[in-house]
Symmetry: C2
């Protein structure tokens, strides 16, 4: 992991993750980044009494302000950073998963400092988050507010396309990125960019892991096509110092009815 470049950066504010309780969801990408960096944070909805009402008040209101003088938030997740507001005293609230990751990348040492690599890490995270959105649509192709059961026919078609066309296209891209890094002397097949763990690794890893939960047969069948991705990369991230303890802790929430859902009928038959 890149070392923070100054003493100042080593003292972190008490970051607060504002997200729905009980599911990994998009909040998980933020959790993994913070856990990997060993930086303490508060998972407000899961840890605080009435925490979800705080999340709702800040991220799901329909007013012209989120909180602390910050502009509105479209939807969770958001990150609350005490003392980082515009006036230098109140809290900064930022939202959109890739935006939060970019911000944290600069603060907690999970992104490289050179410009080309910094934007490459964000490019990978954005692409993994695109796949995350597509997987969500495999069980909600018509409307996010309808039940799966009310769009099951369409889900069967959508999931087929995602499994047969989209997942291999994304896996190929991630796999070729690993190979490029290794060919140019970095990563040893364990990291996507450079020689240390970045939020590109944790984000791609989470989407891989989620797909294994949602589509176990499909992913099992793809293993031999992308041995590097399922092997040194996937297994390596799990063993990373900051993540190993987290992944076996109670803080790591089980997949259930969030983005990654296991409906056997949507998997490879």
């Amino acid at each position: 992991m890149a070392q923070p470049s100054s003493k100042k950066q080593r003292t972190h504010p008490q970051y607060e993750l504002l997200y729905h309780p009980g599911i990994p969801g998009r909040g998980e990408f933020i959790r993994l980044a913070l856990e990997a960096a060993g930086v303490p944070y508060t998972d407000t909805a899961n840890e605080q009494k009435d925490g979800y009402s705080t999340v709702q008040k800040i991220c799901m209101n329909t007013g012209t302000e989120s909180a602390d003088g910050n502009p509105p938030v479209f939807s969770p997740p958001a990150l609350r950073v005490p003392g980082a507001g515009k006036d230098g005293k109140s809290a900064l609230i930022i939202s959109q998963t890739p935006n939060i990751l970019f911000y944290l990348g600069e603060k907690i040492g999970i992104a490289p400092e050179d410009e080309a690599s910094k934007y490459h890490v964000q490019q990978l995270a954005l692409t993994a988050l695109d796949l995350n959105n597509e997987v969500h649509d495999s069980h909600h192709p018509i409307a996010v507010m309808l039940y799966y059961e009310d769009q099951k026919e369409e889900s069967l078609k959508k999931a087929k396309d995602i499994r047969e066309s989209r997942i291999p296209k994304f896996l190929s891209y991630f796999s070729r990125t690993l190979q490029h890094n290794e060919k140019t002397g970095g990563g040893q097949g364990k990291y996507l960019v450079g020689d240390s763990l970045t939020y590109a690794d944790t984000t791609v890893w989470q989407v891989l892991d989620g797909c294994m939960f949602a589509f176990p047969k499909e992913m099992q069948a793809r293993k031999s096509e992308f041995p590097d991705l399922f092997g040194a990369f996937y297994e390596g991230v799990k063993e990373h110092k900051g993540l190993k303890e987290y992944l076996s802790s109670e803080r790591r929430l089980a997949y259930s009815m969030g983005v990654f859902r296991h409906y056997p009928e949507l998997d490879r038959q």
Copy 2:
């Protein structure tokens, strides 16, 4: 518009936009940012002989490199920046629309320099691009590689949800952001963040404009709900110095069979 902070920043490399020819698509968000800043660029596929084969070679190959030693690209658009590569000599290639916008925001004076505003601009752009993706899915809810005609039944359902639930949710967020800026002393109803044009404005504007093309009846009916957005904001961006000439030029491509398509049956009836 924020002024570039040093003389160095005023000398720009010859930016090259790598995108599909003949459609505005996701490339348009990059074009608008560059045009608004008055920074020259090459629209490779539309301006160069065999330009699209360059785009295909760099952004749509299945190898372990895009070009100039850069890692693979998942799909267009990408930005080629001569002289900005890792070795300080070759070109840097970066992809993912919001990533390119963030990068340009730091280089060409279309993003604020203070941290809170910089991430707020990116938050807005990411959210507008999410709506852009949802609108794409209104005519391709099942599979990007199938014809619209082969997923028309599903499109009728999907478009209904996008018009009735999603578009108003996004418009409300953009409108409340305008109001927040004005309430805290900025923007005069013309800018989403601060007192000058940013890529948040151009990106939200393009999605609004595209929705007006795709769903003219729906958007007409929404005007009275969001008078600020359709009024001072939408009209103001069109009149911006750098954009007015562009929007009436031949460089501004007509909507056709890209993200924004006008199928009357998908509009409000």
